[in-house]
């Protein structure tokens, strides 16, 4: 045939550049596949943007506007101006004014406030008399980062602020004593904060992945077709997929908490039964979210990518790595939508503060709501047919 003749010269060239040709063929193929894989493509853009925005705007390691409560046992001009001065420092934001010690403790225990300022009865008169009374500032020190900056600068800041109001002399001499009390973690041991936090973080990661693959795996292996042809309902499939892993998660949680207690000396001040029950709720919530991803994703890779995109903000916005109270409001709203945020409050409150059911009502309800929300989406998204 005539083609043999003309192609022999070209054949040499092909041989010579064979390495590049074949590499090019592979590169071109990979690019085409990458372009068709929408979720991977989204990850290329979303992950860096998300990281940058979260670190740049949402995360603040010197938190300000920390929610605080004041226990006013006396309503005097001096008390008011001290509070005003504290608020002016921009470290504190008084969101609750209470008149009862129990209520004060409850706010701290439930994590609704990070600071409490107590102005005792007869404070102003004692100041006038020169008795140097104590102004009690109680801090929730479970997260040492959030508490320490505010506590550390407390003395000087208050001093400067009050200088003007009180006409205290120079060198300034405070007519009262600020008694700072780092509650729950007086030694500011970061492991006391991190170990309970890790319980939640590890559970989030493992639970999401377990169920995120469950439905896509059936679709990819072809078993979904025969499963759908049998009389089983979407809710039944979901429960079947979630329940075994509740047990797995429970074992995992027990393991982490046991190590935390035995090896790191983290206390469990609250009820163990309540910790177990709420951990179970948290585990189920994460499993439901993973399962929801599984009903949305087209394949196992997409499911893992979705889990990852959920896990990243969970780490950054839940208060695990950085103080929750220090984040801007929009980031806090995002954080409220993550189960980890609520579980971190719960697990820290139970282990370190000895919180009770009443203290944790809000976070418990939030967790249950998130779980039911995810389950509803999953059941609605689950396709009963192959259409």
């Amino acid at each position: 045939m005539s083609a043999v003749d003309t192609s022999s010269g070209a054949h040499d060239i092909r041989e010579r550049f064979g390495f590049w040709r074949r590499s090019y063929a592979m590169v071109a193929k990979e690019f085409i596949q990458l372009r068709r894989d929408r979720v991977s493509f989204a990850m290329i853009v979303l992950i860096p943007v998300m990281q940058l925005l979260l670190f740049g705007f949402a995360i603040n390691t010197t938190p300000r506007n920390l929610p605080s409560a004041v226990l006013l046992q006396e309503d005097s001009d001096l008390a008011r101006s001290i509070l005003k001065a504290l608020e002016n420092t921009s470290y504190f934001r008084f969101v609750h004014e209470v008149h009862d010690v129990d209520e004060f403790d409850n706010l701290l225990k439930s994590g609704k406030v990070l600071f409490g300022v107590e102005i005792p009865r007869g404070f102003e008169r004692a100041v006038r008399r020169g008795d140097k009374p104590a102004l009690l500032v109680a801090a929730d020190a479970t997260d040492p980062v959030a508490a320490s900056a505010a506590l550390g600068s407390l003395g000087t800041i208050v001093q400067t602020a009050l200088q003007h109001d009180l006409y205290i002399g120079d060198p300034p001499l405070l007519p009262f004593e600020i008694r700072a009390h780092a509650r729950y973690n007086p030694a500011a041991a970061s492991r006391l904060n991190i170990v309970p936090g890790l319980v939640g973080t590890i559970l989030t990661m493992t639970m999401l992945i377990f169920t995120a693959l469950s439905v896509t795996r059936e679709v990819e292996r072809g078993t979904m077709e025969s499963l759908l042809s049998m009389p089983i309902k979407p809710v039944e499939v979901m429960f079947g997929k979630i329940i075994p892993y509740v047990l797995v998660g429970f074992i995992q949680a027990t393991l982490i908490i046991a190590i935390g207690v035995l090896l790191f000396g983290v206390p469990i001040l609250g009820s163990l039964a309540m910790l177990a029950a709420l951990s179970m709720l948290f585990i189920t919530a994460n499993l439901s979210i993973g399962y929801t991803f599984s009903t949305i994703a087209q394949n196992q890779l997409q499911a893992i990518q979705m889990s990852f995109m959920f896990f990243l903000p969970s780490i950054l916005l839940s208060g695990f790595m950085f103080p929750f109270a220090g984040m801007p409001v929009w980031a806090q709203y995002l954080g409220e939508g993550l189960p980890l945020t609520h579980y971190l409050r719960i697990v820290r409150a139970i282990m370190l503060k000895g919180a009770t059911v009443q203290n944790l009502q809000y976070d418990t309800i939030a967790l249950a709501t998130l779980m039911l929300f995810a389950m509803t989406i999953a059941v609605m998204r689950f396709r009963r047919t192959l259409d």
Partner: protein
């Protein structure tokens, strides 16, 4: 058993089924009736809409238009009821490869709410001849055993209708024959079987067949009826240089199809007069032996397929 379906003796009765995927019509205006207790063969080339039709029948797909009943239940509204009484064997092995034979069967039995799932699975293992393999993982079974297991799984909950999608693809002849004996035994027990296949010998083992191509149902009836209706005349030629002959005959008027069969050549056409006129010069020539025969099912199907390709593509 429910009243309506048993009284008229029809297991599947659908009219005007149409289904499109992404703008491409896969099933077009398909109507069919399958009698209870019969084995109904579903034939057609790849991508002709067989699988889609079967999936519509068992409620896995909703038709864009058309209506009908399966076991007396409306295919649109009663998908859940249909699923309870239909066994569907998918084209690709769709049991759990990482479960053992016994575990797979017990899973199916439990899903259908059978009272004694273990007992039912044990009995089925015996019936399938899988005793001794019950603890083997399904993924480790050979093709033939996998197919037996799949059939066992879909007959386990005592369905009234079996939908088998190319159940014997890639299975050796012995296993295929055993499989068909089993299907006939099940039909004898009163089960209705709809089975899709590519194999002509399997089509001939069905009570009735339907031929579907490009989503259109082109022919249906018993094998004899389908052959008779095709009005095809076939000459079987033996002799020298059949290859050359095939090339020369292919585009002659009246010759609809030329197909080699081993050492012979099948020359077919619908218009007998035109066909005979065209082949006359070669018949007169020596070295070739011409026999007028009735067309085989395969001749009919290939002719239908070529014709439908011209019409629908």
């Amino acid at each position: 058993m429910n009243g309506t379906a048993t009284s008229n003796g029809i297991a599947i009765d659908v009219k005007g089924l149409t289904k499109s995927f992404g703008g491409r019509e896969v099933v077009h205006d398909l109507s069919m009736q399958v009698k209870r207790g019969s084995i109904y063969g579903f034939l057609g080339p790849n991508g002709s809409g067989k699988t889609t039709t079967i999936r519509i029948l068992c409620g896995l797909l909703t038709p864009d238009s058309g209506e009908g009943t399966c076991l007396g239940y409306d295919i649109r509204r009663d998908a859940e009821r249909i699923k309870r009484q239909v066994g569907y064997m998918t084209q690709r092995f769709s049991l759990y490869q990482d479960l053992s034979v016994r575990e797979n069967l017990e899973f199916v039995a439990r899903l259908y709410g059978m009272r004694d799932a273990r007992g039912a699975a044990r009995e089925m293992i015996k019936r399938l001849g899988l005793s001794g393999r019950e603890e083997q993982l399904a993924g480790e079974l050979s093709g033939g055993w996998k197919q037996r297991l799949a059939l066992g799984a879909c007959t386990l909950p005592n369905p009234q209708l079996l939908l088998l999608d190319e159940p014997t693809a890639g299975v050796d002849p012995k296993a295929r024959r055993d499989f068909w004996n089993e299907i006939h035994a099940l039909a004898a027990e009163g089960l209705t079987v709809l089975v899709s296949t590519h194999y002509m010998d399997e089509a001939e083992r069905c009570h009735e067949i339907a031929y579907i191509a490009y989503g259109h149902l082109l022919a249906h009836g018993t094998v004899e009826e389908v052959i008779a209706k095709s009005a095809l005349t076939t000459y079987t030629v033996t002799g020298d240089d059949l290859n050359g002959l095939a090339g020369e005959l292919a585009d002659k008027p009246g010759v609809d199809m030329v197909a080699p069969f081993g050492t012979s050549l099948h020359v077919s056409g619908r218009d007998v007069a035109a066909l005979e006129a065209s082949i006359a010069p070669w018949r007169a020539r020596g070295g070739l032996h011409w026999v007028k025969s009735s067309p085989s099912l395969e001749d009919v199907f290939i002719e239908l397929m070529t014709r439908s390709k011209d019409n629908f593509q």
